[in-house]
Symmetry: C2
Subunit: 262 residues, 2 copies
């Protein structure tokens, strides 16, 4: 599975503080820790308290780029910050994210194409977050149609069927697993699938247990990618072991260590 580390996000208190204080050592260390723990890419989000989000985003990206060339997922709702972020983060970045409404897709699909970026698209529209399979798939279809219209390479599209906390929307959790399977059937090549995993356990008593169990269920359904906490060792162990059992990695006695050294 393609792992996008979620930790560089201003919603975390220490990260918010590091951004305010321009503590580049802290950010660099957090970037490297996530890579060492098995991240393929890193999410970058200035957080809700940022007073100058454009400057903060630029500083974060520049700081991270001093220690790693890993792809970055530029995580903002503002198109102008997205575009500036893409300019300095380089190719193979992720746009994180667009909703499924045409007015959003008409901004972000061309932007993804222009900057050769991957595009994360959520099954959310102005009408809300559909919680059933049919409602989610309707938005999936709209997203794919827009990508075809703009001749955007569907294999660079990452559709996120939006997992909600299992304590408030339990049936949504099973619908998401169905959508992960169905997405693979709607186009050739199919889009990738992605989850913002940690959301599944928001507000629950056993967060890590729910995260790692749901990750394995989603992998069994064919999930390609997730934004998650790579520093949760038990979560990463579960993911690595699931991929082993699904035949996506060759067995060796020290398969956990081998994966992390990859």
């Amino acid at each position: 599975m393609y792992v996008i580390g979620e930790k560089i996000n201003g919603m975390f208190k220490k990260v918010n503080q590091a951004i305010k204080e321009r503590n580049s050592a802290f950010i660099k260390e957090l970037a490297l820790q996530q890579i060492e723990a098995g991240s393929d890419a890193l999410d970058v989000n200035v957080g809700p308290e940022s007073v100058n989000p454009l400057q903060d985003m630029k500083w974060l990206i520049t700081t991270i780029r001093e220690v790693t060339n890993a792809p970055l997922a530029i995580d903002t709702t503002k198109p102008e910050i997205m575009e500036e972020g893409l300019k300095i983060a380089g190719e193979n970045s992720f746009i994180n994210s667009t909703h499924a409404d045409n007015e959003k897709l008409d901004i972000y699909v061309p932007m993804a194409k222009k900057y050769n970026a991957k595009l994360i698209a959520l099954t959310i529209s102005k009408s809300g977050v559909p919680q059933d399979t049919a409602g989610k798939m309707e938005l999936v279809t709209n997203i794919i149609q827009k990508c075809i219209e703009y001749e955007y390479d569907i294999s660079n599209l990452y559709i996120d069927p939006v997992i909600l906390p299992v304590n408030v929307a339990q049936q949504n959790a099973t619908a998401v697993l169905e959508v992960i399977q169905q997405i693979k059937l709607v186009s050739e090549p199919p889009p990738k699938t992605l989850l913002g995993l940690s959301n599944v356990s928001q507000g629950t008593k056993y967060r890590s247990l729910i995260d790692r169990t749901y990750a394995v269920l989603a992998l069994a359904s064919g999930l390609d990618s997730a934004i998650l906490n790579p520093l949760d060792r038990e979560l990463m162990d579960a993911i690595i072991t699931a991929e082993l059992c699904l035949g996506k990695q060759l067995y060796c006695d020290s398969f956990l260590e081998a994966y992390r050294k990859k």
Copy 2:
């Protein structure tokens, strides 16, 4: 998932000793521990070193029946011991197990019918253990045909597609997941599916991690039942959480505790 506790098996040194010494307190305690940990039924196996397996089996069943009426899975390769076991264990017992050859099925299917027992049938024949999906499904078909021939209720049939250790037969692990899904399509009502879970991690370095990860993958594929170690708390936690995320149990904050008190 229907859990059959695996611990009362003479292959475990302490159990073997308890059988030899007729230490009924040890066996009763082990039975109750497994029930409290979430087992629905208990496997009973005298082990390979038993000198008088018929007497040992009778003693084990009688001893367990002093503390619980939970269904028992009579685990022996000898038809005469199986039949004596079924007589004293009572209805809803499991025959554990038959192979997929006609000469075995012609013994065990009628026996299962006569004693109103559930039947565990392995996808193993005289030719060996097929490791690919097609080979396993061929044996599944033969098992089901024999059950139809004897008018045995297919919903009491538990087919075990035989998981092999992932360190020696990695592709078998993915084939088993496919077979679990396909079995549900071959008859109406479909047979149940069952795994002897612990075998997947035999000889590996991270046994419990592999067991619990594979259990979640199998649950995502629709697994109904497993023979496993219910005293592995992390394994049971993973199973309970997977069932929660699959919508088979209602969420409450203390869902782990609620399941165990069921």
